[in-house]
Amino acid sequence: MPRLCAFRLHAARRWAARRAAAAGALLMPTLPALAADLVDASTLRGADTAWLMVSTALVLLMTLPGIALFYGGMVRRFNVINTMASVLGIAAVVSVLWFALGYSLAFTPGGAAAGFIGGLERVGFAGLDYVAAGPKVAVNAIAPHLPESVFAMFQLSFAVITCALVVGALVERMRFGALLLFAALWLLAVYVPIAHWVWSPEGWLAKLGALDFAGGAVVHINAGAAALVVAYALGPRTGYGQEPFVPFNLGLTMAGTGLLWVGWFGFNAGSALAADGRAGLALAVTHLAAAAGALSWMAAEWLARRRATLLGLCSGVVAGLVAITPAAGFVTLRGALVIGLVAGVACYWGATALKRLLRADDSLDVFGVHGVGGLVGALLTGVLAEPAISGLSASVATQLLACVAVLGYSLVMTTVVLWVTSRVVSLRVHEVDERAGLDVALHQEQLGH
């Protein structure tokens, strides 16, 4: 997948090969084998490794504490601890499962079904070796210039935030144990296959030429679709639509937004898997799209309701960031401006009118912002991608196919995962616990006065 530096070369060669073959020209050179190996450490690139380590930390900061603060500020006072605990618990579960199974299935070569799922060579915490003699270090063929430990950690941070995003749809009513079980199953049954389809060079969507630089489909459309299913499955919160659900502290939400904005530089610019000019452009377009998203959401809100709100500005920032995610390594600054402006308005519609239309208590508007923003970004990538930047041309039809595939798979498989989870443990807390607040009912903790 173009998100991965080595695969950019890989994909560019394949793209060129298709064109050359179509023109009856010579075949391209044989592509490198996709196998993880121990290599001499001198073959690694220090600057790229350092940037990926920083990016990994930035993306983890988006979740811990970015998402925790962002969501924690929007729920009612007596559910803040549960919301933050949900994010933290998911991060822990996903981290262990990632090295136990998820990473291998997503990013190592697969067998007969390689287009749909990876292999087992890194299962059970295997690999990521470093041998002092030499020294030798394990690398993944997708990014042979980086230690595999760094590559796997960077990918882990994406898995963590994708699962954590879903929390926004289920807050204030889901049992904590059910949530952790759901997150574990969802990671393996939904996130991992989709990551393989799009980001592994063997993935069927990658082979079709779908462009997703940093996760518009894998992270945001996927999380948005899952959120919608969870919201329908759990049903609305008690009192939803009848009494005001006043957010605990929008100051926390603002702090979370700031962490998300800054962390997104690691998310997008880190996805170049190199400290180079394309990463620099990804960083710049990310910032511009965030600003444009904030302005257009604010304008839409002003036109509709004659007011500009802090929550609206925060939401607009996130909308712009979500929409630029699939496009960050493919578009110019002008393209990023367009994407941000469109995303702000589209996500405002998604979080208001579309939400009413869908009649789901997607409590913190995960589908409205991440689902809609991801769709807008993925489709506009097909329109605005500049071949001179990446060497790749985009197709709106292919982008649309990728969106539909990811959306459909996530909707169906999330339903299955929820059903399986509900067979093991009930999903929803009792009404009396919901009324009392999940902080006390589930955790025996209080925020304090």
Partner: protein, 142 residues
């Protein structure tokens, strides 16, 4: 009872309620709003009787005695704020265009503003408890 005395009683009650019951009150509002004061008096008496806090009962009595005087004393206003209001009123009064004299969003009892930017005030004024009135968080967050 003067506003200063009322404020002193309210502050004292605020501290005692916080220490003895964990309840947090709005001291300034308690000193000027009869409804809020009556509710806090009721709460202080209830807790005072239940838990045996005589000092709470005494303060509740003193606050209740001052409720009748609430609203009859004008609260002190910062000098700068008073000067700014006077300036606005002076600018607006004789020669301001008709459209600037009173804006549709000027709260009742407040001096009409002559500053153009004040005309862009929000059409939904907050309710008495400071929360928006238009069902802002009912069935939707954004």
């Amino acid at each position: 009872m003067s506003a200063t005395e009322l404020f002193g009683i309210a502050a004292h009650l605020h501290v005692l309620l916080r220490r003895k019951t964990g309840r947090v009150t709005d001291t300034e509002w308690l000193a000027v709003n009869p409804d809020y004061a009556r509710e806090i008096v009721r709460f202080a008496r209830e807790k005072g009787r239940a838990d045996g806090h005589a000092d709470l009962l005494a303060l509740a009595d003193r606050l209740e005695a001052g409720i009748a005087d609430m609203g009859h004393t004008s609260p002190r206003r910062p000098l700068l704020e008073a000067a700014a209001d006077a300036l606005r009123a002076g600018r607006t009064a004789p020669d301001a265009p008709a459209g600037l004299r009173a804006t549709p969003h000027t709260p009742a009892g407040a001096a009409p503003s002559g500053f153009p930017e004040s005309r862009t005030g929000t059409p939904t004024t907050p309710g008495g408890d400071g929360t928006p009135r238009d069902n802002r968080y009912v069935g939707r967050l954004r």
